[in-house]
Symmetry: C2
């Protein structure tokens, strides 16, 4: 079974009406009840069987395949959360008929429709169905490391080996006092688990034991000298990608790194769709929490296996995530984050055990969660500020984490301002006709000269465009003059004059002008190619204008000019793969020499690692809550004016 090209092939609007009429004639719409169907058993339920898992679920007739799957923990790709907008939830109906909907006609070729391909979010089951679910891309290309700083190794976790005197009738000190008297530089308390272990371990090990301490809490005693074995896991809990790094806390070195797609993905690609899910479905908060916990648990197990570390040797975890991810992982209702006035439940998360986040490591291991500056400048950004030293570097620096929500920080080591700009899904390939995530087959680099030169993830046949490819192609089109400063494709004659070798790639699909990036063969229908449409450019313009408005308002607030910025840090998975030259060219960042634009990588993950390795850095993160001022953009009367100013491309 071959999956259709995930995102590359789309039907333009103009052809849809004619096609629908044709499909009706073919019986693909309103199919006869007898065709290919297994009638349902009349009990008020129909059965959906999902392949390849071979899992069956029974649902009321009319439930969509997407809901049936996601209620039962079967992940179907989606960035919109099942609302018919992202067109990523493609499944193949193997038996049982589902009529072709209007959105299906846009999303699939006629052959695909005949083969049973449908969008799961609109495919209602009125009879028993067998459904093939393409595997989710669970390992997208992601930055797992980033710009960090050397820290002084002083983890919260400490092990102390002690040899104690045995008790006698003249020395009846309690087991705990005997131990803590030997570690008198710490004011130790003990948790219940440690107290349960203490009497047995002390006596079995002839009073030669290793105390396991986190902060000043004794969480365990181990027989003999185990001081060489102490580990922690740093998590970057991203909306899209989750990265886990297993650290050896005796040396500060990473032992294993793994990343995977956040299992919350089926609820939607960005925080807003996930928050909406909790508002519409009372069970969603629990299910999102469980999905986050499963993601963290799977990664923990993987890094421990890879590093040959017993999970019980992991005594602390640190986690950086945005405010919504943190709330969901803690089971805190995120609704107030999603609606004005965008309020967090708390800035500093409570101290919880790792087990409360679903992570099975040492039972006494606690989770150090990063605090957040605002509903849209969360713990991941605090971690990024920490990692990049925004609070200590004396240069004027601008930190931009590009994503659906774009976080922007400006600082000079004295003052720090932060804000968030709603960039929308363009950079994640959402709302872009041939857009896709940065996975195998995505065009991520584009050079336009005598010909089109494409960099494709996995060096394979292009299937779509990811965010960095989108920025690249638009920047190149502006550079060679096929797109003007307002973002419009130029007329054909202007195109021929500006770039004769590429002008014929400017063509029409339906009523829309497009630039074809990749065509399987010269005779193929343009609609079967990977292309950039006029509307795609508009989407990018809106996204970059939101970001540019953000940093320009921060610069104004700071009383400095764009040219004063000495360094721009592009953070996050997407920022890391963005071409600095292209970012400057489209105006996503201030117009600065390219060398001042730096890809910072996964700075949230770096911050989480630093917190695990150094109590001082952790205290630094907490101090940022006081040091960083949050500027709310949606409150600014001048936002719209600035936004319009930023829509055009610099020329």
């Amino acid at each position: 079974m071959t999956d259709p090209e995930p995102s590359g092939v789309r039907m333009p609007d103009s052809t849809v009406e004619a096609d629908l009429a044709g499909y009706r004639r073919e019986g693909l719409i309103d199919p006869p009840a007898t065709r290919d169907t297994e009638p349902h058993d009349g009990s008020g339920r129909v059965e959906m069987t999902f392949l390849p898992a071979e899992r069956s679920v029974r649902v009321p007739p009319g439930v969509t395949v997407f809901d049936g799957a996601s209620w039962n923990g079967i992940a179907i790709d989606s960035t919109c959360g099942g609302h018919g907008t992202c067109k990523k939830c493609k499944v193949q109906i193997l038996s049982g008929a589902v009529p072709v909907g209007r959105l299906d006609a846009r999303a699939f070729t006629p052959d695909q429709l005949r083969d049973g391909w449908r969008l799961a979010c609109i495919a209602q089951a009125t009879q028993n169905l067998r459904v093939h679910v393409p595997p989710l891309v669970t390992r997208p290309k992601a930055a797992t490391v980033g710009v960090g700083r050397q820290v002084i190794l002083r983890p919260a976790v400490q092990k102390r080996y002690v040899e104690l005197d045995e008790p006698t009738l003249s020395d009846q000190r309690t087991d705990l006092a005997r131990l803590t008297d030997a570690i008198d530089d710490l004011e130790l308390q003990a948790d219940l688990h440690a107290l349960r272990r203490l009497p047995k371990v002390l006596r079995e090990a002839d009073y030669k034991v290793t105390a396991v301490v986190v902060d000043e809490m004794l969480i365990d005693v181990e027989a003999g000298d185990t001081t060489a074995r102490q580990f922690g896991i740093a998590f970057d809990l991203g909306t899209t990608t989750v990265v886990a790094t297993l650290l050896d806390l005796t040396t500060g070195t990473p032992v294993a790194v793994r990343s995977m797609l956040n299992r919350q993905q089926p609820f939607g690609g960005d925080v807003i769709t996930r928050i909406s899910a909790t508002m519409m479905d009372p069970t969603a908060l629990d299910r999102l929490g469980t999905a986050a916990h499963e993601t963290l648990a799977e990664l923990s197990a993987e890094v421990c296996a890879e590093g040959e570390v017993d999970p019980a040797e992991v005594y602390e975890i640190a986690l950086a995530g945005n405010a919504t991810m943190t709330a969901l992982a803690l089971g805190i209702d995120p609704e107030p984050l999603g609606v004005a006035p965008f309020v967090m439940t708390c800035a500093t998360p409570p101290v919880v055990l790792a087990s409360a986040l679903g992570v099975s490591v040492h039972p006494g291991a606690r989770a150090a969660l990063f605090p957040a500056l605002g509903a849209y400048v969360g713990g991941d950004i605090v971690a990024g500020i920490l990692a990049t030293g925004m609070d200590r570097d004396k240069r004027l620096r601008l930190f931009i984490d590009v994503g659906t929500n774009c976080e922007i920080v400006l600082g000079d080591g004295e003052r720090i301002l932060s804000t968030a700009a709603p960039a929308g899904p363009a950079f994640e390939g959402g709302a872009i006709r041939c857009g896709m995530r940065a996975a195998e087959g995505a065009i991520e680099v584009v050079k336009l000269g005598e010909d089109v030169e494409l960099g494709v993830i996995g060096d394979t046949t292009p299937m779509g465009i990811c965010g960095s490819g989108l920025v690249d192609v638009v920047a190149e089109l502006v550079k060679i003059g096929l797109v003007d400063g307002t973002g419009r494709f130029v007329q054909d004659n202007e195109a021929k004059a500006a770039a004769p070798a590429l002008a014929d790639r400017l063509t029409m699909i339906g009523k829309e002008r497009v630039f074809v990036l990749y065509r399987p063969d010269p005779t193929a229908d343009p609609a079967d190619s990977v292309y950039l449409s006029q509307r795609d450019i508009r989407e990018l313009q809106f996204a970059k204008a939101a970001i540019a408005t953000g940093w320009s308002l921060l610069l104004e607030e700071f009383g400095v000019e764009p040219r004063d910025v000495q360094q721009v840090l592009l953070a996050g998975s997407f920022g890391s793969y963005l071409s600095p030259a292209a970012a400057v060219r489209i105006g996503l960042v201030p117009r600065l020499p390219v060398l001042r634009i730096v890809s910072a990588g996964n700075v949230a993950g770096e911050g989480a690692k630093m917190a695990l390795l150094s109590l001082r850095e952790r205290a630094g993160a907490a101090a940022l809550l006081e040091e960083v001022r949050y500027v709310e953009l949606s409150d600014r009367s001048d936002f719209n004016d600035k936004f319009v100013d930023q829509l055009s491309f610099p020329t």
Copy 2:
């Protein structure tokens, strides 16, 4: 079905051999396999069915009825924990035969044996059995209140009603900051449960909410003004009896009090048998913990029901228990408490949630557990010291909690000494021929004059003697001259001279001299009566000598004479019912005017209540760890000499 008299009727040793021969002839020993039996099914298991519960369990052949029952949570009375010494585990075999054992012949009359009565701890099941289990006395006579002090009402639990401004884009403080800013006299932190509730409750209640705070932890927010409703439960977790008091924390008044037998009872009557159980059976620690939790849970439910309080309105519990009870409730191995050098795991228990002790109240409710001074001077005594003001009263006072383990405290408001004396089970009716707990049918008061005057619990037919009755009868016998200063029954001629009206009650059962207290009718066999034997007097002498050695060593350590003591406080359930005059007469307490001897009642429970009502008192309890010096008796070379000195009765 009538139960046999629980403890009143015992067969003296001399008759046992003859009887066993008789039972063998009757077929009660080595019964033919066909008699009254249900053959077991050959699968290597036999079935025991317990009535009246009608619960069946399948066990390997040879398992005792006691073990089969206690493994399955069916409580059979026992103070020795199933080791054949207390003879309290009487059951009736209704079908299936169990041969009469040597201990059975001592414990039951021939008619009872023929009716199938056996001791459960020696009754091995070799075939299927139906077993009647007499109901446990789950509500023994117990002091639920005691000597306490008025305290300044300042509980750890506080409720604050606040009306908050709604957030706006220009006031995006977090929900938590909005709340804590309004309660700025406290440095509030919030637990995860409270944070999960906060966003919803704030918005649903239009920002008019009541914050529930324990210490400085926000554990909940409630819609509207609920400040009038705040409760706590104080527990006295005794080895024998558990008492729960529901307190209204707004007024400091008790709302409901309940007590019941500790469900750990089937594991043995005193702390040593329970510790032994954990040493011999790896599952016992868990099972003892569960039994304690069930006891606390049942009492909580009862006091809440009686007080018409929703368990969710109980925001804190306080618990006073001895070191073993506290360890078992927390799941901490008590073994080191039971063997020299008698070491505790910790003196101050960790902070745990009430739910960790099995108590279902508010999910954020924590348990304040009393710290302990030593393995045998536990949190119950610290609570008692607190309640009786031993740390502040300027008089020289002696505090004695009489029990299997007897705790003794001596103080003058400046210095405080404490110790523990191993008194053994005599005061709980253990090892006393006609001994029984202070339950219905127990002789608790004895006056000897022209006749025998008995006070019987429940004003019913006497069935045995409880601890206070034992002290009374021995004191009276000494007083009237039927027992001499060495503890021996006087010769018959001396008896006739000393107490002509009572001398004929001095008689023989088997080879042992006894004093008959109650005989069903004048013609009845003395063995069917309730009596005091020479050996019983010896048991009491050992018990009181241990206690007297304890306080005399403390007085010596303090540098004072017994006559300097200005008040003696008799604490605990047993101490409360003890006659001060009798206690003086047998030398259990120093020879002082009777008015200086005071029954203090359940001072452990009073201390627990004070801790719940006053943070200051709770801090006072913690301070006692530094203020009270523990004196270990088993370390004293002069213990044995002193002990022998104290064996005789004062004359």
